[in-house]
């Protein structure tokens, strides 16, 4: 049994990028990331080059999962917003569209209040894009994955 595959296609990817870039500007953030709850980076906007984005995605997912476990212990479904304050940079994490984590890194040019407001506004747009992505996945082309052969898989190890 495959436990399922999440596919993201070009139009939805571009739509996510558009929303991310708008959020980056509106929230005066340094960088914004969109991560799935399994710890994979979907997209980013801003100065992401200076970050180890793979590690960031994994740890953000671990962070949300761990606090979700804490939430369950007190009878909550999850804590949907986390805020980490640093000396120079701060990080705002929020669960959106049920399965994604939006990570906003910002410094003193912005504020947690502004970030929260802009994240809330962007969440509705992300929800729309993800709903469209789910619909598109139903009748989308599979792009060759189903044609994988033993030889293809073996070629990875040569």
């Amino acid at each position: 049994m495959s436990h399922g595959t999440f596919s993201l296609r070009e139009p939805e990817y571009e739509a996510l990028l558009f929303v991310l870039r708008k959020l980056l500007a509106d929230a005066s953030a340094r960088v914004v990331f969109l991560v799935d709850k399994d710890g994979t980076l979907l997209a980013s906007a801003g100065d992401a080059a200076g970050f180890d984005t793979t590690s960031l995605a994994s740890l953000a997912a671990g962070n949300i999962a761990a606090t979700g476990g804490l939430a369950n212990l007190i009878g909550e479904k999850e804590f949907s917003i986390l805020f980490h304050e640093g000396e120079r940079d701060n990080m705002h994490l929020s669960v959106i569209a049920e399965r994604l984590i939006l990570v906003v890194v910002f410094d003193r040019r912005s504020s947690v209040g502004l970030v929260r407001l802009r994240v809330r506004q962007a969440s509705a747009r992300f929800n729309d894009v993800m709903a469209a992505a789910a619909l598109a996945a139903i009748d989308a082309e599979t792009g060759g994955i189903e044609e994988l052969t033993e030889a293809d898989i073996e070629s990875l190890f040569k």
């Binding site: 436990h3 993201l8 180890d52 793979t54 590690s55 999962a65 476990g69 994988l148």
Partner: protein
């Protein structure tokens, strides 16, 4: 749950190394990290205690090249093996595409192996998986130590599904890449089958 990004032509899969405390899960990842071409692997993260026992997870991202025009990325995780970290183990299993069960071959660890395998099955069920169908590889580690159980004994105890099993001595690298290769193959075959459903 594997993630296919058609925009960036990437396949992402999650593999979890499971097993009792001190069986060598982190050692497997450390050996892979040390031997992989730096271009093919990211930074290894270990959330461990001061005595280097895994507290939450170890994480190692690998990029293994392209198939059918897709870059393949595998995210390797370990779970904390100690019994009382069960809540963390459940969280790490979320979205898993394949499991390596790392067994400690020493006779004294027989009960721990059995308990951990049962715990894996319970936790997979809790996450909505069928533990009899998820891609699984069993690694019998520490074969280089004295007082180890025979392969037949370990097989009878842990491998009811008759999945691929590999002998290993992870501290010297024996069997480590064979295990990784085997689980990656199973995951990709499962991904291909999944796409046909």
């Amino acid at each position: 749950m594997s993630f296919i990004n058609y925009a960036s032509r990437e396949i992402n899969c999650k593999i979890v190394y499971y097993g009792p405390g001190l069986c060598g899960k982190t050692t497997n990842l450390q050996f892979i990290y040390n031997r992989m071409n730096p271009d093919a692997r990211g930074k290894m993260i270990s959330l461990a205690t001061e005595t280097e026992r895994t507290l939450f997870f170890d994480f190692l991202p690998l990029s293994l090249g392209e198939i059918r025009g897709f870059k393949t990325r595998f995210h390797l995780y370990t779970v904390p093996g100690q019994v009382f970290y069960d809540a963390s183990r459940r969280l790490i299993l979320r979205g898993v595409d394949g499991v390596v069960f790392c067994a400690d071959s020493q006779l004294t660890r027989t009960d721990s192996n059995e308990e951990s395998m049962e715990n894996l099955r319970v936790n997979l069920r809790e996450q909505g998986y069928d533990p009899d169908r998820l891609p699984l590889v069993i690694q019998y580690n520490k074969r280089d130590l004295p007082n180890v159980a025979s392969l037949a004994e370990l097989h009878a105890l842990l491998n009811r599904r008759n999945v691929p099993e590999i002998e290993a001595a992870a501290s010297s690298g024996i069997g480590v890449f064979e295990t990784l290769k085997t689980v990656i193959k199973l995951v990709l075959i499962d991904l291909k089958r999944g796409r046909r459903q």
